[in-house]
């Protein structure tokens, strides 16, 4: 298997404060990797480095063979090939659901309105929200907004999807509708890197689990191994705390 996302010795500082230390891991094509760890351990930072929303100072990240840190890399083009889903959905509130789905397809990929509409509606249908195409984001529930956000990313035909705690801002009864969409994607072979504390999702869907602590990747193993017996004490503590809920 070839690595779709390859991180090698990535380190990052905010001023004097080191957020990431020597992070090395990879996500193979079609693989689903869950990233977990305590608050402030650097999960969001790590995933944002992958599509260059955050710069890093040391190491290399390759996405489909393209070096993210190389100043010659066309970052907008790279980002247009990687889908990202945020904790707070980040739909554009001034645009209708249809326009949310089509704007980047047209302005970034240069698709015609017709083509963009077709594609957008296809994915909106996939996440079960076709009836809401004419509405605005503010008229939808959190779970619905997050599903639209996933459809918006998918409409760009990404080679991989990044998720940063996609369900942690949702009311409990809406979490599953979003996880179901993500599970479907995983089964279709999408390459996925998901920051999440949904351990049920990790157990069912993930191929590998990465555990981060204070900027280090301290566990990086197959999920069976991780849930069987995580080696580190911090991971044990973390898991027992999380699984109580």
């Amino acid at each position: 298997m070839t690595a779709m996302i390859q991180l090698s010795n990535v380190s990052k500082w905010y001023g004097d404060f080191q957020v990431l230390t020597d992070c090395t891991t990879q996500v193979a094509k079609g693989e689903v990797v869950v990233v977990c760890g305590p608050s402030g351990s650097g999960k969001s930072t790590l995933i944002k480095c992958v599509n260059a929303l955050e710069p890093f100072q040391k190491g290399t990240i390759l996405v489909d063979g393209v070096s993210v840190g190389d100043p010659k890399t066309d970052l907008p083009k790279l980002r247009s090939r990687v889908g990202m889903v945020f904790q707070h959905f980040e739909l554009f509130p001034h645009l209708s659901i249809t326009d949310n789905l089509t704007i980047a397809q047209m302005k970034v990929l240069g698709r015609s309105r017709e083509e963009a509409n077709d594609k957008g509606l296809k994915y909106l249908d996939r996440v079960g929200l076709k009836a809401h195409a004419a509405k605005f984001p503010g008229q939808l529930s959190g779970g619905q907004q997050q599903r639209v956000a996933i459809a918006r990313a998918l409409a760009m035909d990404p080679i991989a999807m990044l998720f940063d705690e996609p369900t942690s801002a949702l009311d409990p009864e809406m979490i599953n509708e979003v996880l179901d969409v993500m599970t479907g994607l995983a089964h279709e072979g999408m390459t996925m890197m998901c920051v999440t504390h949904e351990m049920g999702f990790a157990r069912r869907v993930a191929d590998r689990v990465i555990f981060m602590d204070r900027g280090h990747i301290v566990e990086d193993c197959a999920k069976e191994e991780f849930f069987g017996a995580p080696r580190g004490e911090r991971a044990q503590q973390f898991l027992s705390k999380i699984l109580q809920h």
Binding site: L53, R79, S80, F86, H88, E90, L109
Partner: protein
């Protein structure tokens, strides 16, 4: 006794004056918002020199009287125009005033736009970037449309102030609404009546617009 009847024959001239006032206002608002937006973007730029220059511009024009800018541009704009184009066509007082208003008001609009941009959550910009948009697209398609919506009441408020301030063009002899009323009143020997009438017109327009802004503010607050 007050005699307001002489205002009626002066109405065509007064209307022309009001049209000049409104034309100056409209063009100044458009030009001021455009230049103000560019200044706001420059001020928020990572490039130190650019943001420093924009900051200086804004602080400078916010620290000098508008009347000074009008008088000064009346002298300077024709010189610069002739120097740039090499022609010696005279530049009208209207054009000089328009340039003065645009440059002066831009400093105020810039601060409004800057606050508006800063009020848009960082996550919106990140989402735009994550979809492959560049800086210009993210601003134009995502951030500015939202910022302008939030800022509409403040824009209108600033424009009401500008509506009143356009009367300062009397300094360079432009016949706007107030200046027309004043000179007509002097000619027919009824300065009080004409000024009272002019005051009533300014009040009705400005106060009416203010009420409108209040209603908009309530709508936009939701």
């Amino acid at each position: 006794m007050m005699d307001f009847s002489q205002i009626i024959p002066a109405l065509p001239a007064l209307t022309d004056g009001m049209l000049l006032t409104l034309r100056l206002l409209g063009l100044s608002v458009v030009g001021g918002v455009v230049l103000g937006t560019l200044l706001a973007l420059a001020r928020l730029s990572d490039r130190r020199v650019l943001s420093g220059l924009a900051k200086f511009y804004v602080n400078y024009f916010r620290s000098i009287p508008l009347l000074l800018v009008i008088s000064w541009f009346y002298l300077v704009v024709p010189l610069i125009y002739n120097w740039l184009t090499g022609s010696f066509e005279p530049v009208g007082a209207f054009t000089s005033c328009l340039v003065a208003f645009v440059m002066f008001e831009a400093a105020y609009y810039a601060e409004i736009v800057r606050a508006g941009i800063q009020a848009i959550p960082k996550g919106q910009v990140n989402a735009a970037y994550a979809l492959g948009m560049g800086y210009g697209q993210a601003m134009r398609l995502i951030v500015l449309p939202q910022a302008f919506r939030k800022m509409t009441p403040l824009f209108l408020q600033q424009s009401i102030i500008l509506f009143q301030d356009t009367s300062l063009v009397y300094a360079v002899g432009l016949l706007d609404f107030l200046n027309t009323a004043r000179s007509k009143g002097d000619i027919v020997g009824l300065p009080h009546e004409f000024l009272i009438f002019a005051g009533a017109v300014y009040f009705v327009i400005s106060f009416g617009a203010t009420l409108l802004v209040k209603r908009l503010q309530k709508r936009f607050a939701v």
